[in-house]
């Protein structure tokens, strides 16, 4: 059988919270219909669909803005990061 993690645990990069790289913060608004296009284009694997809405994991989102740019409904807004 295949064994994952013979040298290093799989997916261990989750220890590295890349959220603090962010200068712009994407916010999902009510216009989101859960089509999942943003999830497909997110380079940081930090969007999941829950109850037909995109939910962003701010622990890892680097704030690139691809999701806001590609959203066909313009349902994601980029705001200045203040945290």
């Amino acid at each position: 059988m295949l064994r994952v993690g013979s040298v290093c645990e799989a997916g261990k990069s989750r220890l590295n919270k890349t959220g603090d790289w962010r200068t712009l913060r994407p916010q999902v608004t009510d216009k989101c219909n859960g089509c999942g296009i943003c999830e497909l284009f997110c380079p940081d694997s930090c969007i999941v669909l829950e109850n037909k809405k995109a939910v962003i994991d701010y622990d890892y989102c680097k704030g690139c803005g691809i999701c806001a740019n590609e959203c066909p409904k313009q349902a994601i807004e980029m705001e200045e990061e203040r945290n």
Partner: protein
Amino acid sequence: MASQERINLLAPGHRACPGCGAAVALRQILRPLGRNTIAVSATGCVETFTSPYDQSSWEVPWMHSLFENSGAVASGVRAALDVQGEKDVNLVVISGDGGTFDIGMGALSGMLERKDNVTYICYDNEAYMNTGVQRSGSTPHAAATTTTPSGKKSYGKIEYKKDVPGIVWAHDAEYVATASIAYPQDLMRKVKKANEIYGPKYIQVHTPCCIGWGFDASKTIQVGKLAVETGLVPIYEMEKGQPVKVKKAAEKKPIEEYLKVQSRFKHLFKEQERDEVIKELQAICNANIEHFGI
């Protein structure tokens, strides 16, 4: 789209630049392959950002090879799997354009010639981005890189992009295709199709790089689409030496639209005499449109 299982095999927390096209490509490549997969990567951006010491982003078994031998390492992995009797394991090589077009060409050629059952995927970001944007065999004509700088006497890279899908096809590979991260359904379909064929397969994925090409991180997908719509990057599959299933663009955009959004081409718009270079690039697009029927 909604019915597709949204399996994610690239863990967050990797160190790719914000807006990285290669990271998007990785997620889209791994999704149709699933967990029963072994990946081999040559040195390059993907290797660097997914595997700093002790922190792998891969959720599948993954092996790092040298720059030049990812094809040979994959052949070895397949041979080992055959000896163990593991028949149903997907084996994929994910290498950059440097490790495919230039340094790894020999090992890739060997892998194709031996007809090893490997899916070789090249993510093509058109330069050595990991080491600081040096030109590669994949860099398009007239693009400025750190080793082909633009200036009064230079308009960037003099040479033209190498036709690696054509070279691979000349090895009589089982499946050859090009794709772009801007068309994820197309890319995932091609990866799935390639994975189901026995023998050597090659897919070249166009992945815009916001740092190396000089555009805003949010425009990665947009630039990828422009590259296809202008005809500079044809998306097709090969059958009997002929391109088939070509991605059509209803409205062909002029090459300027693609060039002016990237700072690697900005020198072409500063000096008058560079109009000739733009015309030459437009001629390349027109030739592609005619040859591939875009």
